[in-house]
Symmetry: C3
């Protein structure tokens, strides 16, 4: 199973890493992939430094045992952020749009969680 977390606020960013780890640690639910999709410029800026950056790095490092993790930011939101993709942790990717990415993943069978 695969799950996408939709993050739009700095508050959601502050605990999404714990949610991702809880999911991957749940032995009752076999999960092969987790993605976090961000569609807010404020969250992108928060993800560039300090505590927010640590959350992103935790998500990207949470895989293993056959589970992949991804962290993707909306290209539209990037234009509204001060930070650029280069300011974010290595491994963060741009999505053509946040809502498009959420649509595409669910179309491919991923579960959706608004944390």
């Amino acid at each position: 199973m695969r799950t996408v977390f939709h993050v739009s606020t700095v508050d959601q960013l502050s605990y999404v890493d714990a949610k991702v780890r809880n999911l991957l640690a749940d032995d009752a639910v076999p999960v092969s992939a987790v993605a976090v999709v961000v569609d807010s410029g404020a969250v992108i800026d928060a993800a560039a430094d300090g505590d927010g950056r640590e959350r992103v790095e935790t998500v990207l490092a949470a895989g293993g045992d056959g589970a992949e993790t991804a962290f993707r930011v909306c290209a539209n939101a990037l234009r509204g952020a001060t930070a650029t993709l280069d300011d974010l942790p290595a491994g963060v990717e741009a999505a053509s749009s946040g809502v498009g990415e959420l649509t595409r993943l669910q179309h491919d069978g991923w579960a959706y969680v608004r944390p």
Copy 2:
């Protein structure tokens, strides 16, 4: 692909039109239909006038190129609103219930987004 946006607050109404437009403008994700489902009387009232009304009209006009857009309000929420269906922009439809509409659309394969 098809996507439903679930709107319950006036704040969500204030930017859902931008999300709908971002989705329809995303060339990487072919989208044939978008619906906004409202299940709050306060949002229905906000949708009747001023800025909120413009958001609804923008959603309804955002289709084209083979993509349809719809704006539906929960019949239960309508009973708690001051505005009636006739006070809303032409094209807005009533759903038998907001949660029922969200269930039906996802059952038919639509993606769900909480904006």
Copy 3:
């Protein structure tokens, strides 16, 4: 059709019972099962007493006519709550994780609603 409601705040708990009842009362949408999944210790504590407890009991009693209802709390969130599973209304179940339960149900075809 089947629907899971994802509850993370005491505010969401305060009206999720009404959403469940609206869904089950919607004759246009045949629903065979509804689940509420809680992933917050604060909500678990609120569900143990008073108004919150009534909401849980309303959800659990809302079934009938072939529709089942369930109320499940995340085992991780239980560890952060003051209340224990024994303090909650009879019928409340523990899930191995809230996000795992949300993933599993959607994988099985349930619709997701963030109330």
